[in-house]
């Protein structure tokens, strides 16, 4: 093999190896960092993992926000109008957090079925509904309608 070809081959080999290693590491870490989204109904069905973080979203139920005596820990219910899950969060809630507002929380379920959030997101737009929340509300609504139709057929 002539020396120029050889050099070029080295270079290409190094590049391919480098990119390959980077891609392998990236994809490996990718799976670990994927956070799936579950609606309160899906959690009630037991689809959500325990001991692994995920996201939950829905509307904050009315009159459900309770503040613990330390003033920093808040507990509230998140609902998709079919099921609810109780979320607990320590820290400062976002400006737009309020009852009736759509939110997304990041965290994990503890043994007693309470979702302990490490982060709560309420988007910076009054009219904005997190798309996952809008979607799960719609699914819950559709299922409700279906059940009612089945009942009326019987």
């Amino acid at each position: 093999m002539n020396p120029i070809r050889k050099k070029r081959l080295y270079l290409i080999g190094m590049m391919v190896a480098g990119v390959g290693v980077a891609a392998w590491l990236a994809l490996n870490a990718f799976d670990e960092n994927l956070m799936f989204f579950f609606s309160p109904s899906e959690i009630a069905e037991g689809k959500a993992p325990t001991g692994h973080p995920f996201r939950v979203g829905g509307l904050v139920s009315n009159n459900s926000v309770k503040r613990k005596p330390d003033g920093l820990t808040t507990a509230f219910d998140v609902t998709d109008n079919a099921e609810t899950v109780t979320v607990e969060y320590t820290g400062i809630l976002p400006d737009l957090f309020r009852e009736g507002q759509g939110i997304v929380a990041l965290g994990q379920l503890n043994e007693s079925g309470i979702f302990v959030a490490s982060e709560v997101l309420a988007k910076h737009d009054e009219n904005y509904m997190p798309p996952e929340v809008a979607d799960s509300l719609k699914t819950a609504h559709d299922e409700g309608v279906n059940e009612m139709q089945q009942v009326s057929v019987q």
């Binding site: 270079l11 990119v19 590491l25 799936f36 973080p53 320590t90 979607d135």
Partner: protein, 669 residues
């Protein structure tokens, strides 16, 4: 009546753009001089009409003309004038108009500064700019007309999003867009070169300053956005790996790669196909960024469907622009001649490494940003990619970039002796290693390897460039040589040094704030004190305070260190009249080595408030770094050789290899 003039001007601009896209290009093939010469007047015309359009929209905001839907949605009589103007680009329709206007401005700049380029090249470049313009103007007119009227006319506008009512964010979008749109120039030059089949060093030399200017705007624009997020969102973070941020970082990374690869193409004639590809991608990613941010595609495919007309148009536009240019590339690239040979240890190889790393980073961000879309479309579930992943990827790859920066900038084109590199860099290496190890001592970080790595790398970037400058000045008779250098052909060199110093500052800032930043959520009653990193925060209570278009609860904090008062912070919680949403306005005491930051949470009754206190060491360095990078870029484009080229080009109609230019041969050893 006046808004219709704006609308009409848009239509006229579109008509001109259509002619501009066809006639000069056709002229360049048939060699019809008059057709090609048409390109410049057409560009002036487009700029004129789009300026008119923009001014009309701004005027509608200033005159509170709520019969225009866009103004009714984002304007308000009580809005301060500055924000009435920035409301022009505060939402989808207006920001697209700004895009189209800036595109016309860049086209005009090409038309103006290209007097000495061969006419066929100018004609082709401006035709490509015209094609892009058609896409944007059609999008505006068909789906997002900012001049649409509404009836009955509302009495009051719904006001600009309070988050955007901030001087930093008033100029952030124009800067960012200047960067995005600026990459269209490199794109147009590349397409024109592919069409003309002539990719030589002069092509690279023409593209280079334009690319650098676009890059400078993008750099400063991104930094400004990050700074704004830091003080406005009240979270004390400077980067969130949010899709919107990622959308601007991807073109930046590819644009940075492009700048470096253009250097190789200009100096050595190598990497031609690669450089063209990068130019295509930099602009494609800019387009993607623009649309993803404003259309909401990225938050979900469902919101995409909420406005199917726009979504479909965007898809078609992206497909035509990206697909078309890549097809042209596939067709023409095989005919691009290979460049100069280079050895394994040479500046070319190191720059190739830099390009590879930057492209891989951009690719990873693209993956992380689009993954939720792909998963959703494939019905694999709804996911989001946590920001720890992005952080991990950057920490994994950027150290190699920092290492290469020192080696690459000191090595020679074509061939460098390994012995030379070792001789030059061994002191820098030892010093950096020692410094990195020093920061591991209990006194500083107590064995925090990340701190050692970051500080060592920053020191490496600094010392290796010091060696570099010393080596250069050795042949130039010291300080006088430096001044002579700076007055002319050495500016691009010192621009590079300056920008790379920015990289070092950035590394220091990120390392320090990530490892030593302190954040505390706390409940405080008036009179309470909290101690963070040796600073005492004394809470004096919250009182009401009226603003022009909002009411505020203003907190008062006395900050002292060692018993001595050093600052008073007054963070606010604002409620805007129109949009009635609460907004946090952080109180920040800034300093070169640390920021102290307070943001109010909510009232807990009895005068108590929940709040967040932060200590952010060296965070300013992150943004100052971007100023260094920007200044470096600006210094580089004032280099004499870009001016000399123009003078030369006027004397010789066909300009060929850059190596013929003495100014170019002289700079960069």
């Amino acid at each position: 009546m006046i808004p219709e003039i704006g609308h009409y001007a848009l239509i006229l601009a579109l008509s001109l753009a259509i002619i501009q896209a066809i006639i000069p290009l056709a002229g360049s093939y048939t060699n019809t001089h008059s057709w090609m010469a048409l390109s410049r007047p057409l560009v002036w015309g487009q700029l004129l009409f789009l300026t008119l359009s923009t001014v009309v929209l701004a005027n509608a905001f200033l005159a509170n003309d709520f019969s225009v839907i866009y103004v009714a949605q984002h304007g308000n009589t009580k809005l301060p004038d500055l924000y009435k103007i920035s409301a022009v680009w505060g939402a989808h329709e207006g920001s697209l108009l700004l895009w189209a206007f800036l595109l016309a401005a860049w086209s005009a700049a090409i038309a103006f500064f290209s007097r000495n380029l061969p006419l066929p090249v100018v004609a082709r470049v401006l035709s490509v700019m015209g094609m892009i313009s058609i896409g944007f103007l059609l999008f505006l007119l068909l789906t997002s007309n900012p001049f649409d009227r509404t009836f009955p006319v509302p009495f009051e506008g719904r006001e600009l999003n309070p988050m955007l009512q901030d001087p930093g964010l008033a100029i952030h979008p124009p800067l960012l867009y200047m960067g995005y749109v600026g990459f269209s120039v490199a794109f147009a030059f590349s397409i024109a070169a592919l069409l003309g089949g002539k990719l030589d060093a002069s092509w690279a030399r023409w593209s280079r300053p334009w690319t650098t200017v676009a890059w400078v705007f993008l750099t400063v624009g991104i930094a400004l956005g990050s700074w704004w997020a830091y003080y406005e969102l009240g979270w004390g973070g400077w980067w969130f790996w949010d899709p919107v941020e990622n959308a601007s970082l991807m073109p930046w990374l590819v644009g940075t790669a492009l700048m470096h690869s253009l250097a190789v193409t200009e100096k050595r004639g190598a990497f031609k196909s690669w450089t063209v590809l990068l130019a295509l991608f930099a602009f494609s990613l800019s387009l993607l960024g623009t649309f993803l941010v404003r259309s909401g595609v990225l938050t979900s495919v469902h919101s995409f469907a909420s406005d199917p007309e726009r979504g479909v148009f965007i898809l078609i536009f992206l497909l035509v622009a990206i697909g078309g240019s890549l097809m042209l590339y596939a067709w023409r690239a095989p005919y691009i001649s290979g460049g100069g040979r280079f050895d394994l240890i040479s500046r070319e190889t190191f720059l190739l490494g830099n390009n590879l790393l930057l492209s891989v980073l951009a690719g990873l961000i693209l993956l992380g940003t689009l993954a939720p879309l792909i998963y959703d479309a494939m019905e694999w579930g709804k996911i989001s990619v946590g920001f720890p992943w992005f952080n991990k990827m950057f920490v994994l790859l950027t150290p190699f970039l920092a290492l290469l920066i020192g080696v690459g900038s000191i090595s020679r084109w074509k061939h460098t002796d390994a012995a030379f590199l070792v001789k030059q860099l061994r002191v820098a290496f030892v010093v950096s290693l020692a410094f990195g190890l020093l920061t591991l001592l209990p006194l500083f970080s107590d064995g925090n390897l990340m701190v050692g790595l970051g500080m060592g790398l920053a020191m490496w970037v600094v010392t290796s460039h010091l060696v570099n400058v010393k080596e250069r000045l050795k042949h130039k008779a010291g300080f006088n040589g430096f001044l002579r250098d700076l007055s002319g052909g050495g500016r691009s060199y010192y621009g590079m040094i300056l920008a790379h110093m920015g990289v070092a500052m950035f590394i220091v800032g990120v390392t320090m704030v990530s490892n030593y930043g302190i954040e505390q959520d706390i409940r405080m009653s008036p009179g309470d004190t909290a101690d963070i990193a040796g600073y005492e925060f004394k809470f004096e209570g919250v009182s009401e305070f009226p603003g022009p278009n909002y009411n505020a609860n203003r907190g008062r904090f006395l900050i002292s260190k060692d018993g001595e008062q050093i600052a008073i912070l007054q963070p606010e919680k604002r409620t805007y009249f129109v949009q009635t949403r609460p907004m946090t306005e952080a109180g920040i005491d800034w300093g070169l080595t640390r920021d102290l930051y307070v943001s109010l949470g909510e009232s807990l009754g009895g005068g108590d408030w929940s709040m967040r206190l932060y200590y952010k060491p060296y965070i300013r360095w992150i943004w100052i770094a971007s100023i260094f990078m920007g200044l470096g870029g600006l210094l580089a484009i004032t280099d004499r050789r870009y001016r000399t080229v123009r003078k030369r080009a006027s004397s010789t109609s066909t300009l060929t290899a850059g190596s013929m230019n003495p100014a170019a041969a002289e700079s960069h050893s």
